[in-house]
């Protein structure tokens, strides 16, 4: 890749980060792809946004974007929320890349807490923003110990957490950031996606990259990785969603947001993936609440 040199020396480098930093991040990404599910430490940079707003995802996007890419950002499935709009605008300004809201047309998709409903294809890159990359963090506070546990595949504790769920709630109540086993070795936190999206992690043709800026970790799933959601034999993993069709497009297979619409207990269930919902409505599908 030959980055465009800015005319003005004071201007930002292509996609904000300097080339040395991007090289460093790309090395971490390659290592992550070589060892699926392994958390690679990297020297996370200060970004012009607060930690927790997707600094890890933004750094990965900056490292993988080329001038020919078409970029999409979603936040909880939506293209039009603050976080999505500002990150999209950020790369429009610093990289001058084309942007889109259409999942099928995008080559790089940065996402917070969702995997698009539309199936991804080979050649696409899905970049996740990760708040806490360590799936064992709330079970074992010592970093030295969690690393050893990963190295030795010592994952009994993850099942203790699921056991506690069943003991307390009668079923596995973990609904997001549901732990997965990657390629039979590493247990991975899939970032706070709903467990409805977990099956899409596995055997996905797209490259999936996970960036945690504050925690300084990158991990990755190469295309067609085997990803298994952990469970018990007698309490199998079940992807769950609200038991309604979308109020706007009538879809019954998509993940839904619940929106309170008045003070009288009125509520509306709509697709959390705005692109999916709009595409369906353009095709003429109508839900019961569509105006």
């Amino acid at each position: 890749m030959n980055p465009q040199r800015p005319d003005n020396e004071a201007a930002y480098n292509f996609a904000y980060l300097d080339e040395q930093t991007k090289r460093m991040i790309r090395r971490a990404i390659l290592k992550g792809l070589a060892i699926p599910g392994y958390q690679v430490p990297f020297a996370s940079r200060e970004m012009p946004m607060p930690y927790g707003w997707g600094t890890g995802g933004v750094q990965i996007s900056a490292a993988v974007l080329t001038p020919e890419d078409r970029f999409k950002v979603i936040d909880q499935g939506a293209d039009d929320t603050t976080n999505a709009v500002s990150i999209r605008a950020f790369f429009q300004r610093t990289a001058d890349v084309e942007t889109t809201t259409r999942t099928a047309e995008a080559t790089v998709i940065q996402t917070r807490h969702r995997i698009p409903e539309q199936a991804l294809t080979e050649g696409q890159i899905l970049v996740y923003q990760v708040p806490i990359p360590e799936p064992l963090r709330f079970l074992e506070p010592r970093e030295t110990e969690t690393r050893r546990m990963h190295g030795l595949r010592d994952y009994g504790l993850v099942h203790v957490k699921l056991y506690e769920d069943i003991a307390r709630h009668g079923h596995i109540a973990t609904a997001y950031a549901y732990p997965v086993l990657v390629e039979g070795h590493y247990v991975m936190d899939p970032s706070p996606i709903p467990k409805f999206d977990n099956p899409k992690l596995s055997d996905n043709p797209a490259i999936q990259l996970f960036g945690a800026g504050r925690e300084q970790r990158i991990y990755a799933l190469p295309p067609y990785s085997d990803v298994v959601s952990l469970d018990f034999e007698d309490h199998p993993f079940e992807p769950s969603k609200a038991d309604h069709p979308c109020g706007l497009c009538g879809a019954e297979d998509s993940y839904l947001d619940e929106v309170i619409v008045d003070d009288a207990g009125g509520r509306l269930f709509v697709c959390s993936d705005t692109d999916y919902c709009e595409t369906r409505r353009a095709q003429g599908f109508r839900g019961k609440d569509a105006a």
Binding site: D154, G156, H159, V160, Y163, I166, A167, F232, E233, D234
Partner: protein
Amino acid sequence: MNSDRALLSVRGLTKRYGAHVGCADVAFDLYPGEVMGIVGESGSGKSTLLGCMAGHLAPDSGQVIFDTRAAGPRDILTMSEPERRMLTRTDWAFVHQHARDGLRMGVSAGGNVGERLMAVGARNYGAIRARVADWLERVEIDAGRIDDRPATFSGGMQQRLQIARNLVTGPRLAFMDEPTGGLDVSVQARLLDLLRGLVRDMGLSAVIVTHDLAVVRLLADRLMVMKSGRVVETGLTDQVLDDPQHGYTQLLVSSVLQV
């Protein structure tokens, strides 16, 4: 398994903390079903020795040979970390003096006991729970408290819970570090009674470190007396306590208050 063969053989075990000696040149054999008591005053190296044998501390020299189920006698100090971890949660138990060190206080009693089962691959919730309930009963904890956190348990119950958590995988060797320390006498008596029953029923071998001579009198077949990191006297428990030979053992025995 051969009952003529030692379950655990310790040879020349030495651990130094700089110039200070933790324990020096300790050697003994422990046979299946046997309980070995290690007594001595604070700082005599009892806990260091126990830590070295259980793999918590790295000794400077010596061997700790354990008769593994799969491969016969192996030196655990030269084992790989995964092998040693597997051993520590299948064939070994470690009971800490403070139950809080050995329990996960944020996890329910059932989760605490079930952890070892899940760590060795149990994946059936119903089966895990049934075994946990069975074990809670064996250590005299009401099965109705299976979902309560250990923080809501009394000290004696916490200690019994820790024992259940350790014995659930049916280990052959238990290391116990002052298992009755910090408990009042009536609770101690019940705990000792329980331990004695479990050791007998399961054919468990144990190494018990304590400064309480009454505990070893009740539980231990053999006794090892330590002072300043060295073993000064060994023998059958009754023999050592009733006819102490070494000056320090005599002092120790005569220091017990008679009520």
